[in-house]
Amino acid sequence: MRHVISILMENEAGALSRVAGLFSARGYNIESLTVAPTDDPTLSRLTLVTMGSDEIVEQIAKQLHKLIDVVKLMDLNDYPHIEREMMLVKIDVQKQGACDVVKRISDIFRARIIDVGEKSYTVEVTGSRGKLDGFLQALHELRVVEVVRSGSMGIARGAIALNA
């Protein structure tokens, strides 16, 4: 099963590679990983999406917790939560009518065109994984030049929070 794990860790050199190294050393897989400092600059928040049985994910959580740089973590699957991902897509618009297609589909998906060039448009779209996949599918008649996805970020609904 797919699990979304949120991790608060020390914002220190090497901390990220300890997390990534743990996954490769123990043969766990990483579907996506996204990380940045929080409002407290000494802490980084990392959202990691992994696949595994409940036993494996429990073991992953314990092993992560064992890393000295990891302050706290939560498996968001244990709570109602929201997941968001951002995608930047560069689309070839040289084909007749391509600009209109991009504009129409962007409207439908509430995406934004953030760069306009002679040959290409770049669109920013945010949402669940499924929405981003759907956006790309909707563009199938056009040539997609480049796709950049941030990987999932997650947060629990309601008052539940992951704080140091």
């Binding site: 860790m9 590679s17 314990k62 064992k66 000295i68 740089d69 302050v71």
Partner: protein, 566 residues
């Protein structure tokens, strides 16, 4: 007053109460060695002959004292040579603080001479590691390193110090307290779980206590003995746990696992309650996990939550320091209206005593035949009154040492269990002897293993370490040969060493006493003669039976009740 980084380093060691450092100098640590030179009355530096030897010696020191071992090596090859020892300490949860020199900060990342990213290299085999990037971080980092290494589940911590930081000067103050927000090991067991555990203990008909190295590391042998006597339960130890409970006591059923006793393994298999204490269900212990303890409920006490339900799903997990939890278990059991009724396990003991009758460790030493390794270890136990510190390398001799030297005390059996590092025994014995100058320290080794850190014989001479080396020389890499005999149709691929040195001359060349023993009738006399040489290292080369195997054995993939006896 301002001190140099190197002087601050030395002051930190003093503040931590470090009396001994094992190491090897080099370019990146010259300032530190200069500061150590000035502090030599307070800190004893032991110069190994290879960095791997220095780390194993520190492990021997740590394993025999439960104090952190301290290592100092230079950058580059000095650091990489230490990696095997660090990985060994990680697998066996040995508290170590390893200091490596690093090239000056300005050169880091430039492929400088003797530069290596040792923090990156060791990341998967340390409890934690640090690169010191500012002088003001040096003292707090050292404080953290000792704290992390020696608390919770112990382990090696590496501190990488760039050379320029050891040269520059700054104010020194050593933090008296340290707290790390992301590191708070659970040391007290959950009371409710303790009560649940005792409920199961009181109901069990076929209980087994299965205890490991965690008991030794926690200094909990006394509590374990009390709990075992209180319950009357049979007890088995893992390889790492030997000495946690007196091996000569009738409740002890021997080691378990691949080369454990028939009675210990059968009792594990048939048990209805396993109380696992400071043990981690390692594959060499469990055999085929699918066939492991099919009838048992399992209580697991360990300080590391990640070991719980890692390999085997447990029913009652108790996270905490083994010493505390054992004390709680004892208190809870004593507090009950009724303790364990001996009647409840009478039939179980009858069954265990039946299994014992197979006498699975018996061997037949013909006095006109070749020496059997088992006989040598038996005699060593007799001659030393069971009171020696025994280190070993890895292989058949290690298993025979574990089976036949009956350890009655903790911290006496010093071996490489998890990583299985050949070359561990001799340097580890140095660390033990330095920590216990008046004790008898025996290193049981093989003709293969002893050559892997043989250079340390020079260190032994320099510091007059009167270690007794017992090499069980069968001319083979015995455990490899045994597996090839059993599972590879006797194709002895690369397990025979055609050229062995003359160990007697070798020992003499290093300034020690060498003996070769070829007849069973000479074994005891030779051991007595060697033990009488209190101030000399004696290298005893026992020429033993070439095709002797370690029995009993649980073959790979088999269950505990599927042992090969002879």
């Amino acid at each position: 007053m301002e001190l140099t980084g190197a002087e601050i380093f030395v002051e930190c060691l003093k503040a931590e109460g470090v009396d001994t450092v094992f190491g090897y100098p080099g370019g990146a640590v010259l300032y530190i060695y200069d500061a150590l030179y000035k502090a030599q009355n307070e800190i004893n530096h032991i110069l190994a002959r290879h960095e791997q030897g220095a780390v194993h010696a520190a492990e021997g020191y740590a394993k025999s004292t439960n104090k952190p071992g301290v290592v100092l090596v230079t950058s580059g090859p000095g650091a990489t040579n230490a990696v095997t020892g660090i990985a060994d300490a990680y697998m066996d949860s040995v508290p170590l603080v390893v200091f490596t020199g690093q090239v000056p900060r300005a050169l880091i990342g430039n492929d400088a001479f003797q530069e290596v990213d040792i923090v990156g290299i060791t990341r998967p085999c340390v409890k934690h590691n640090f690169l010191v990037t500012r002088l003001e971080d040096l003292a707090p980092t050292i404080k953290k390193a000792f704290y992390i290494a020696s608390t919770g589940r112990p382990g090696p911590v590496l501190v990488d110090i760039p050379k320029d930081i050891t040269q520059m000067t700054g104010e020194f103050s050593y933090p008296s307290e340290i707290s790390i927000r992301s590191y708070n090991p659970t040391v007290k067991g959950n009371k409710r779980q303790v009560r649940r555990a005792i409920d199961l203990v009181l109901e069990a008909k076929r209980p087994m206590l299965y205890t490991g190295g965690g008991v030794i590391l926690a200094g909990a042998a006394k509590e374990l003995t009390e709990f075992t006597r209180l319950t009357g339960f049979p007890i088995t130890n893992t390889l790492m746990g030997l000495g946690g409970y007196p091996a000569t006591d009738p409740q002890f059923v021997g080691m378990l696992g691949m080369h454990g006793t028939f009675e210990a393994n059968h009792a594990m298999h048939d048990s209805d309650l396993i109380v696992a204490i400071g043990a981690r269900f390692d594959d060499r212990v469990t055999g085929n996990i699918e066939k492991f303890c099919p009838y048992a409920k399992i209580i697991h006490v360990d300080i590391d939550p990640a070991t719980i339900s890692k390999n085997v799903k447990v029913d009652v997990p108790i996270v905490g320091d083994v010493k505390n939890v054992l004390a709680d278990l004892i208190e809870e059991l004593r507090g009950r209206k009724q303790g364990v009724d001996p009647q409840q396990i009478t039939d179980w003991w009858k069954q265990i005593n039946e299994w014992r009758k197979t006498n699975c460790l018996s061997y037949n030493q013909q006095m006109d035949g070749p020496i059997l390794a088992q006989y040598v270890v038996d005699k060593l136990w007799e001659v030393t009154g069971g009171d020696a510190f025994v280190t070993s390398d890895v292989g058949q001799h290690q298993m025979w040492a574990a089976q036949f030297y009956k350890f009655d005390q903790p911290n006496r059996w010093i071996n490489s269990g998890g990583l299985g590092t050949m070359g561990f025994g001799l340097p580890a014995a140095m660390g033990v002897q330095i920590a216990h100058p008046d004790a008898t320290v025996a290193c049981i080794s093989g003709d293969g293993s002893i050559q892997m850190c043989i250079q340390e014989l020079a260190t032994c001479l320099q510091y007059r370490l009167p270690i007794k080396i017992i090499t069980l020389n069968n001319g083979y890499l015995g455990m490899v040969r045994q597996w090839q005999e059993f599972f590879y149709q006797k194709r002895y691929s690369m397990s025979y060493m055609e050229a062995l040195p003359d160990f007697v001359k070798l020992a003499e060349a290093y300034g020690h006493v060498g003996m070769r023993i070829e007849k069973p009738g000479d074994v005891e006399g030779a051991l007595r003669e060697a033990m009488a040489m209190k101030d000399r290292l004696v290298f005893m080369d026992f020429i033993t039976s070439a095709e002797n195997n370690v029995y009993p054995m649980v073959p790979a993939g088999a269950g505990h009740n599927e042992m090969i006896l002879v």
